[in-house]
């Protein structure tokens, strides 16, 4: 019924750090999540992209040192496809994802609290309907716990390297396409900094 207490404490600690990061990343906000989905606010992609590349380097590094093992979800075709589509539609209507909705509750957002109640009820429906849903998930076959390097017979470091290059390239291209905006933003930051410095001088 319970994990050992040290494990629960570690979970709580990891969660608190995760919650602080989500809140400071501003992804516990409806406008940021929906803003990403209408392709106007790229905060979510920047955070997830950085997390995935940094995380991949560390986890594959630790794997090479045999400190950790991989935990891959099986590729049950129907489950992933139907689940992914429902998840995207639901998340767009709700305006938060599961983790950020919990963080949004911490921030005081009332609609997120209603959503979390909906998530618990839906999880209960899933458990009750599990025998039928499990058959559905597996109905189009299951390719097992495979990674992209497994499927292609390549090194994971090749994939991580390509991802990192793509991320740098995307950052470079976005500056190329929106130079005016970023330059104005930068000038704005410089102005704010100067103002702050001047105020400090006046104080002393």
């Amino acid at each position: 019924m319970f994990d050992p207490i040290w494990k629960l404490a570690l979970g709580l600690f990891t969660g608190v750090v995760f919650g602080i990061l989500l809140q400071k990343g501003a992804v516990a906000k409806f406008r940021v999540i929906v803003g990403q989905f209408i392709l106007k606010d790229w905060t979510v992609v920047k955070i997830m992209g950085t997390a995935v590349i940094v995380g991949a380097v560390g986890v594959y590094g630790l794997l090479a040192l045999e400190v950790v093992s991989l935990h891959i979800r099986p590729l049950a075709w129907a489950g992933i496809v139907v689940g992914g589509v429902l998840f995207g539609v639901g998340m767009a209507v709700f305006g938060y994802c599961p983790g950020t909705s919990v963080a949004a509750c911490g921030e005081g957002r009332r609609d997120a609290m209603v959503g979390v109640a909906g998530m618990l009820v839906a999880a209960g429906v899933y458990v009750v309907l599990y025998p039928w849903l499990h058959t559905l998930s597996e109905s189009l076959g299951n390719a097992g716990e495979v990674t992209l390097p497994d499927l292609t017979g390549t090194s994971p470091w090749l994939w991580i390297g390509v991802l990192a290059i793509l991320a740098v390239l995307a950052q470079f291209l976005s500056r190329l396409f929106h130079p005016a905006r970023t330059r104005r933003d930068r000038q704005q930051t410089v102005r704010v900094r100067k103002l702050r410095l001047r105020k400090q001088f006046e104080k002393h």
Partner: protein, 180 residues
């Protein structure tokens, strides 16, 4: 005299810094309990314990309880921690947002509270249902799975992002203001 400001008092950090933090946190999760970061398994286990308690008859013949042993686990405490972390973080920066109907929603669908709550309840429910069918969410698949280069997670991430974009563009259109 320069006073160094406590970073917790800032309302927002750079997305790259936050991403770096989440990446390093995933190393910590793997190294400390050999577990990827994920949110929805805790909801599933919590709901399963609830089903067992409320309707033991429903649970008795359900093969779910043969394959899974729901419990209060590392993941449950992770979810509790996310709530507490966000609570303290928003308290420290004064970024409390006791919002009932988000501004973007209000501009598009009006100020009705029942409408927003109904959409939030069923939207979130649909999302959770999808997450459990696919065995992961934005954290479990979107971050933890993709960083392990799992084929299932990359497919899930592409699909949910694509349908999320399509749905939102249908609902709001490209010209909605995000910062009002």
């Amino acid at each position: 005299m320069t006073s160094i400001k406590n970073p917790l008092q800032d309302k927002q950090w750079s997305p790259y810094l936050v991403g770096l933090g989440i990446g390093v946190l995933s190393w910590f999760a793997f190294a400390s309990v050999d577990h990827p970061l994920g949110i929805t398994t805790a909801f599933e286990h919590g709901a399963a314990l609830g089903v067992q308690a409320i309707a033991p008859g429903l649970a008795a013949n359900n093969e779910y309880f043969e394959t899974e042993t729901p419990k209060v686990s590392w993941e449950t405490m992770l979810v509790v921690g996310v709530f507490l972390g966000a609570f303290f973080s928003s308290l420290a920066s004064g970024d409390r947002e006791r919002i009932v109907v988000p501004v973007m929603w209000k501009e598009r669908f009006g100020p009705s509270v029942p409408l927003r709550f109904t959409a939030a309840f069923f939207g979130a429910g649909l999302m959770m249902f999808g997450a459990r069918l696919a065995q992961g969410c934005t954290s479990g698949h979107g971050i933890s799975g993709t960083l392990q280069l799992a084929a299932s997670s990359w497919l899930f991430a592409i699909l949910f992002f694509g349908t999320g974009v399509a749905t939102s563009l249908l609902l709001y259109g490209r010209r909605s203001k995000t910062h009002v």
